[in-house]
């Protein structure tokens, strides 16, 4: 931990200033910003959209999902569009036909109940009335008519979550800002985009269409400046070092908060009504509250994907956590805040596992309906107080590329602000040691490091010190 809280904020702002200088300096066609989990990527996007719009030229913002677009529109409007926000920018939200503005967008579109009227929603660029900032998904941008250049071209482009965008998706939208300057923002440690077919035929090609947008841009433009956000504001001091060591060994970052800034308190187990056999469950929760991590380890066994015991353990941990009325403390909530069901997530690798956990939760009670249960892919970009993770390799006989993927484990272990509990069968280190690396090696493909094997070993070595063995 270096410096005071104020110094860390200043360091983060310095990165934003440096990015702005590179963009406005016109010496580069693009700038890349790598961000570890929860490092203020959205804040950077919102801030830079404002600064670029200050030049008076139009800004296009690309996000990957409609959910992300709506989040950005809301934050942009609140920061730059609302009366008294200083800039008074107009914001356009391009949407597919049949899009119904979500509440957080609708409150910026004018009308009797709206906070402001800075946002316009339309299906075509022409119908937006030339806003300062236009936001849409990559898929929508790809289908908008190519504006006449230079008059209608985009001087500025911001591509959010660019590591989740596929190279062919970028190719479809890049002509819209080809004469301008682009900012690529994303988290290199998250899940890579995927294709439904085997992309081996392009392996090693500098324009492998199944690769990520950032990879292809860097392959062709090796001199683009790359900036890094230095602090994770989400991950607690207990988690940042492990996540950094396992997944970002060459691009170090630190927790933005000091160890004493965060705390999680669990009232004594005896005071809560519940099944009497919850001993190891309570131990795991207590350990997680105290140290930020717990490994709830079930006896070694090869199981089907929807391992009933592991699935049930995930549900019981979540149920117990909510019913013990855990509360969390951080500088924003010095008096503490209860960990309600909606602040808890359970992550898994497969959809059928998530469905099994959901069903198990339902059996534990209706008060757990607000607990998020999802796959790593869908948990990307989200944040919770406590995250319970069904380990991707739990109960498996083999360690396939899918289950070893660093991005998957990284997403699952970096969603929490306070504590993370991993549920797993014993024996994963042995599985990793026994399972040979069988993926073909291709010429011209940059070696990805850390590989899944290394990252998994680093995580398990750490979790080994936080083990709670489940009762048999």
């Amino acid at each position: 931990m270096t410096g005071s809280s104020a110094e860390r904020s200043a360091a983060a702002r310095a990165v934003i200033d440096a990015v702005t200088a590179d963009l406005l300096g016109a010496g580069h066609r693009g700038v890349i910003v790598d961000s570890p989990p929860g490092a203020g990527k959205s804040t950077l996007v919102v801030e830079l959209a404002g600064r670029l719009a200050d030049t008076g030229e139009p800004v296009m913002v690309v996000a990957q999902t409609n959910e992300q677009v709506d989040d950005l529109v809301d934050r942009l409007a609140a920061a730059h569009g609302a009366p008294g926000s200083g800039r008074g920018l107009t914001i356009g939200r391009l949407s597919a036909s049949g899009y119904v503005p979500t509440q957080r967008v609708a409150r910026h579109t004018g009308g009797p109940h709206a906070a402001d009227d800075s946002v316009t929603v339309a299906g075509k660029v022409a119908d937006l009335g030339a806003p300062a900032v236009t936001v849409a998904t990559a898929a929508k941008w790809a289908r908008t008519a190519q504006p006449e250049r230079p008059a209608g071209g985009w001087r500025w482009a911001i591509l959010d979550e660019a590591y989740q965008m596929r190279s062919d998706g970028l190719l479809a939208i890049a002509p819209r800002f080809a004469d301008g300057t682009a900012l690529f923002v994303g988290d290199p440690g998250q899940l890579d985009p995927f294709a439904t077919i085997d992309g081996e035929r392009w392996a090693g090609s500098p324009w492998d269409p199944t690769d990520s947008a950032v990879a292809v841009v860097r392959a062709h433009n090796p001199r683009l400046p790359v900036h890094r956000l230095p602090y994770s504001w989400r991950l607690p001091a207990t988690a940042a070092p492990l996540v950094c060591r396992a997944f970002y060994p060459f691009t170090p970052f630190e927790a933005g908060s000091a160890p004493q800034d965060r705390a999680m308190k669990l009232p004594g187990a005896a005071t809560v009504a519940g099944p009497a056999d919850s001993g190891p469950i309570d131990q795991a929760l207590d350990l997680a509250a105290e140290t930020g991590w717990a490994l709830y380890e079930l006896p070694a066994r090869h199981t089907v994907r929807t391992d009933t015991e592991a699935v049930d353990a995930c549900a019981r941990l979540a149920a117990r956590l909510v019913r013990r009325e855990a509360s969390v403390f951080d500088p924003g909530y010095p008096g503490g805040r209860p960990v309600t069901a909606d602040r808890v997530a359970i992550g898994a690798a497969h959809r059928d596992q998530a469905a099994g956990i959901r069903a198990a939760l339902d059996r534990h009670g209706a008060d757990l309906a607000a607990v998020t249960v999802d796959t790593a892919n869908r948990l990307q970009g989200r944040e919770y107080d406590v995250c319970i993770v069904l380990h991707p390799l739990s109960g498996r006989r083999d360690a396939t590329a899918f289950h070893l993927e660093t991005g998957r484990l990284c997403v699952l272990l970096s969603r929490h602000r306070h504590a993370c509990i991993v549920v797993s069968r014993a024996g994963i280190p042995e599985l990793l040691d026994a399972h040979p690396h069988t993926e073909p090696v291709h010429l011209g493909v940059p070696v990805k490091f850390p590989d899944g094997w290394e990252a998994h070993q680093a995580v398990l070595a750490h979790l080994g010190g936080h083990r709670v063995t489940a009762a048999r």
């Binding site: 062919d168 077919i197 392009w202």
Partner: protein, 507 residues
């Protein structure tokens, strides 16, 4: 491997016989396929050694490179192969049909047939790709001239092996072990299934061993391991054959230099040895085709073959018009187009197979992407009155014992009415069962009340799956190759035939 395929393997193991994975044949079989059994020389990437090829099962043509290290002889081999393959192609270019103009395409003529190449295994397709690559950049002029048919053959082999074979649902280039393994599950590993003899041994064990022996699958597969009776189906040869037989025969030819009779005898010995290695695979291949032919044709077979015929028509015309050979590396735009094409083909093939074959649909039920049950209640009169004109929005409740993992709002469809895509409103657990509430929003006619028969009735059995609700949108437009943006390295260089093509060191 899906859970259902794993179960089928267990069942096959217990029964000692292959178990069907499909109720219909999901590939097209041409009336006269060109069967091709290539073998390559060990140690070099694309050095042809021999091939059995032909459309007549009783009369295969044997092509042999007497001295497989002699590069000139390789191209003589390819020229002979070109005559056979291009003749097969030409025979498919007889009659055409008229395709009416559409919004995006003017009227055109489509060939009524397309070529079909069948090789024993995926290695055979890879061999075709390598041979295609070594042939397509060659030229009939210049320092190392080849037969003018060789570069044309190279383009066709590339089209078969690299363009069409990886496209789901295309049947112009088939690897038999893959096709058989997609239709039958055996009790052995996927690796063992790659040996054509062992795979067929599980499907038709009676054909192995003495007549009337009544062998089981594993017994027959054990016999199929005998490399003398059932040699490797290529393209790699058995190392024992290489050292024990092949090297001696090649050396014999060298020793016989100058002695025409001895050289002729040595060449004949080599040909006989290679024919002996290839003939068993040739026979198995035709047996495999017979098995497939006995399966009923899938409902979408004609549709998919029409696509193949159309692609063939386009490609053959492009070759006629002197299009350059397929580049060694696709440009950024071409690669993105190909990816979109391959993904769309895969999605369409998955949907078509699920529609054509209840066994395929069942695999989705196991993963929770489909559910089957009985309609327990219907509100056919329900309407959406929020708009200016009320729209029929019937709701259907279906009780199922399947685990439903689908989310609210997911679109599904059923084989009885594949164009109707209801969305899931809610899933309620009732004991061990689930009750799924669906809202119908399309394919009910244009009237204020749904057309008769367009809404499921109580008591009906239905199976709804997400894969059936897949809709196909044209991929987003990509820039022209000459407009490739800076993010992808700018416009690619134009192809110009260069001397360097001859000098690639892997030749």
């Amino acid at each position: 491997m899906s859970a259902l395929a794993a179960l089928a393997r267990v069942e096959a193991f217990e029964a000692g016989r292959a178990v069907p994975l499909a109720t219909v044949r999901h590939v097209h079989l041409s009336a006269r396929p060109l069967v091709f059994v290539p073998v390559l020389m060990a140690g070099e990437a694309a050095a042809p050694l021999a091939a059995l090829v032909g459309t007549d099962r009783t009369d295969p043509r044997l092509l042999v490179v007497d001295q497989p290290r002699d590069r000139d002889q390789r191209f003589v081999f390819l020229a002979e192969l070109a005559r056979i393959v291009l003749d097969h192609v030409a025979q498919c270019r007889g009659e055409t049909e008229l395709v009416e103009a559409t919004r995006n395409h003017e009227q055109w003529e489509r060939h009524l047939d397309a070529p079909q190449l069948v090789v024993p295994n995926p290695g055979g397709i890879e061999a075709m790709r390598l041979l295609g690559r070594s042939a397509r950049f060659r030229s009939a002029q210049g320092p190392y001239p080849v037969d003018p048919l060789v570069p044309v053959l190279g383009r066709y082999l590339t089209w078969f092996a690299q363009d069409r074979a990886p496209t789901a649902g295309s049947s112009v280039c088939l690897a038999l072990t893959e096709v058989l393994a997609a239709h039958w599950a055996t009790g052995q590993s996927a690796l063992e299934d790659q040996h054509l003899a062992a795979l067929l041994a599980w499907i038709v064990p009676d054909r192995f061993g003495p007549a009337g022996a009544g062998l089981t699958g594993p017994q027959a597969a054990a016999l199929a391991e005998d490399p003398d009776r059932w040699p490797s189906a290529g393209p790699a040869t058995d190392p024992e054959f290489d050292t024990g037989v092949l090297s001696a025969l090649i050396a014999a030819q060298q020793r016989a230099e100058g002695d025409a009779d001895a050289a002729h005898a040595a060449r004949r010995a080599l040909r006989e040895a290679l024919r002996g290695r290839l003939q068993p695979t040739w026979d198995l291949l035709w047996q495999g085709l017979d098995l497939l032919r006995a399966l009923p044709e899938a409902g979408h077979d004609e549709h998919r073959w029409r696509v193949d015929r159309g692609r063939f028509t386009d490609f053959a015309r492009a070759v006629d018009e002197g299009a350059p050979p397929q580049p060694r590396r696709e440009s950024a735009v071409a690669a993105a187009r190909r990816l979109a094409d391959l993904e769309a083909a895969q999605e369409a093939y998955d949907k078509q197979r699920a529609l054509d074959d209840p066994l395929m649909l069942a695999a989705y039920r196991v993963t929770g992407e489909a559910f089957a049950g009985t309609v327990v209640a219907v509100d056919a009169e329900r309407r959406d009155t929020s708009g200016r004109t009320p729209k029929p929005r019937p709701r259907v409740w279906l009780r199922t014992a399947d685990q439903v993992v689908l989310r609210q709002g997911t679109k599904v469809a059923c084989p009885q009415r594949p164009n109707q895509r209801p969305s899931i409103v809610s899933v309620t657990r009732q004991g061990a069962d689930c009750v799924v509430e669906l809202e119908l929003s399309n394919d009910m006619g244009r009237k204020a009340v749904p057309d008769e028969g367009s809404v499921p009735e109580p008591g009906e059995s239905r199976c709804y799956a997400t894969v059936l609700a897949a809709e196909f949108f044209p991929p987003p437009p990509l820039p022209d190759p000459e407009q490739t943006p800076w993010t992808h390295g700018g416009p690619p260089a134009q192809y110009t035939p260069a001397g360097a093509d001859h000098d690639e060191d892997w030749h």
